[in-house]
């Protein structure tokens, strides 16, 4: 494939390595490589988890954008992270009332994935008419209605989350709240999100060029031989799985899925075969760097990484929204 694409990917790989090195070196106990125990037992799992979470969220964002033909789509904005939070908190509550065990971590991950899938299905069901109208000329309000539907799903999910927090036993409340804020503090398990990421990538990357066609219209993609409905379902499940894995591990960290693909498109990485892996690399690096900042900015206090991500993500989202998708003269 083209050399510019390879160059970008090489730069992103270097960035990822540098971000991880920085993440290992930075900490609330000071800069540099501290005691081996701190590096290997605290920082390394945290960096791996952070990278996996960021990569999964960014991949999910890129997939949702292609699926909804909307550069503003993001698991957090569209309420999918909210659905994952509802699923994960339900699993935690079940764990609290005694259904616990060695599988509880996997239970939370599965709950989050199911919640994300539920929210995605609801989103697509509600916006089906809008999406199916593509290519018929009735396109103008599509991005806005999709966002509004997503925001409403997010609002419903946060109401459910509030309900569950009210019902939750006192002992678990603090952990739940911190987890909801988008927090990598104390994360030791990183394998679930990496598995979700790899499965999602394997289920979408081989068909990436077809996603570029689908983004231009369902009927046109069908004339090129794309099994439209099957491919949509596949992408949907992959995006929900990646979001679920990420939310189960790191909580609801917002805007990674928005910022990473957007920045890459500005750099010229636009074709989906490049965009999907590049988004994963960029999103992983972004979260690792944001987490390093969260740990060191006000050390020894640790900020939730979601705060840093939102500080970058919200202005990017607003800038995208203001500029709008149709600056052209059509």
């Amino acid at each position: 494939m083209n050399t510019a694409g390879w160059r970008h990917v090489a730069v992103l790989l270097a960035l990822a390595v540098a971000a991880c090195a920085l993440g290992l070196a930075a900490g609330s106990s000071g800069w540099g490589f501290a005691m081996p125990e701190i590096v290997w037992q605290i920082r390394l799992p945290r960096v791996l988890a952070g990278f996996g979470v960021g990569a999964a969220l960014a991949l999910s964002g890129a997939l949702m954008q292609l699926l909804t033909r909307n550069a503003l789509a993001d698991p957090y904005v569209l309420g999918v992270s909210g659905g994952a939070a509802v699923g994960a908190l339900s699993a935690m509550l079940l764990g609290a009332i005694g259904v616990a065990g060695w599988w509880s971590e996997w239970g939370i991950a599965a709950g989050a994935a199911l919640g994300a899938l539920g929210a995605t299905l609801l989103l697509l069901a509600l916006s089906w008419r809008v999406l199916a109208g593509a290519g018929s000329g009735a396109q103008q309000e599509a991005p806005v209605s999709l966002l509004l539907i997503g925001v409403m799903i997010g609002a419903a999910c946060s109401a459910l989350v509030t309900l569950m927090l009210t019902l939750a036993p006192e002992a678990q409340l603090r952990g739940m709240v911190f987890w909801l804020l988008g927090d990598l503090n104390g994360v030791t398990h990183w394998s679930a999100v990496w598995i979700a990421l790899m499965v999602a990538l394997a289920a979408t990357w081989p068909w990436a060029h077809q996603l570029d066609w689908l983004a231009r219209g369902d009927a046109w993609a069908a004339t090129l031989g794309v099994p439209v409905q099957r491919r949509r379902r596949q992408v949907l499940v992959a995006a929900a799985l990646a979001t679920g894995g990420a939310v189960a591990t790191g909580g609801a960290i917002g805007f990674v899925g928005l910022v990473a693909p957007h920045a890459l498109r500005l750099l010229g990485l636009r074709a989906a075969p490049w965009l999907l892996p590049a988004s994963a690399l960029a999103g992983g690096s972004f979260v690792v760097l944001a987490d390093a900042a969260a740990r060191t900015l006000v050390a020894p206090l640790q900020l939730p990484v979601g705060v840093i991500a939102a500080a970058v993500g919200v202005p990017s989202f607003l800038a995208l929204l203001m500029r709008g998708p149709g600056r052209g003269s059509r």
Partner: protein, 266 residues
């Protein structure tokens, strides 16, 4: 250009929205498209031109009738294989993300696995961009283009798909006079090299220049298909569009004169 082909529609009937309860657009349309032919599809707004083109492309289910390519029903073709034979250019395009003219034009060139690095034929790409006067715009973002410029990119995308049969839904919309003539030249070249074109148009003079065959849908359920001279008579056109139409010779060329609405005639 690829081997010879034969595309046949017989007893075609279409309903609006491809649903059984939809309004009947037309019935009993039969036509055969062969290499070298240039078909124009004419008719008033809502008559079913776009639906006919989508049905020929296989993405709009006909209420009745058969569509056969190489003697095999379209439904029996593998969709990927069909893409090698016909390219469909819809009337409306969605450009949700930034993409350059070149990126958009060659979207459909590579249809197998994306990691199979068969390089895009750069001479063909350059030729099509030049033919459609898009060279200066090659790196422009498609979302910043004017309507006519975007339309030319859409035709380039369809041409570069490499299929002999082009199904173009209003390829001349938004085009200025010079680019209309350019488009006709490009489509004539495509047909001359063994391809075929089916295109819906609104300008009957342009349609006359482009087509050698025509389909006229009158919007009241009737359709007629045949050679250009059989179908594009002033009487038929006048009846279909409800305006006065006359055929005149200007500088040795056949032109249509279009007058007021028929109900306003004395």
């Amino acid at each position: 250009m690829s081997a010879s082909f034969r595309f046949e529609a017989s007893g075609l009937a279409l309903r609006a929205g491809a649903s059984a309860r939809g309004r009947l657009l037309f019935e009993r349309l039969s036509l055969v498209v062969e290499p070298g032919q240039r078909w124009v599809v004419l008719g008033p707004n809502g008559a079913g031109k776009s639906s006919l083109l989508a049905a020929l492309a296989g993405v709009f289910a006909p209420a009745q009738g058969q569509l056969m390519l190489q003697g095999r029903s379209l439904r029996d073709w593998r969709p990927e294989a069909l893409a090698d034979w016909r390219a469909w250019c819809p009337q409306f395009w969605v450009d949700p993300f930034p993409a350059s003219v070149v990126e958009t034009a060659r979207l459909a060139t590579r249809r197998g696995a994306w990691w199979n690095a068969d390089p895009v034929d750069s001479t063909q790409l350059a030729q099509v961009l030049a033919e459609l006067d898009l060279r200066a715009l090659a790196d422009a973002d498609v979302r910043q283009l004017s309507g006519g410029e975007r339309q030319r990119v859409a035709v380039a995308t369809a041409l570069l798909q490499g299929a002999p049969l082009l199904l173009l839904d209003e390829p001349a919309s938004h085009l200025d006079l010079a680019h209309q003539q350019l488009l006709i030249g490009v489509l004539a070249r495509h047909a001359g090299e063994g391809g075929a074109v089916v295109a819906s148009l609104h300008d009957i003079n342009l349609a006359w220049d482009l087509g050698d065959h025509a389909v006229l849908i009158n919007g009241r359920g009737d359709v007629v298909a045949g050679t250009r001279d059989e179908v594009m008579t002033p009487q038929r056109l006048s009846a279909a569009f409800d305006v006065a139409v006359d055929q005149v010779a200007v500088c040795g060329q056949t032109r249509f004169w279009v007058g007021p609405l028929r109900k306003d005639l004395p």
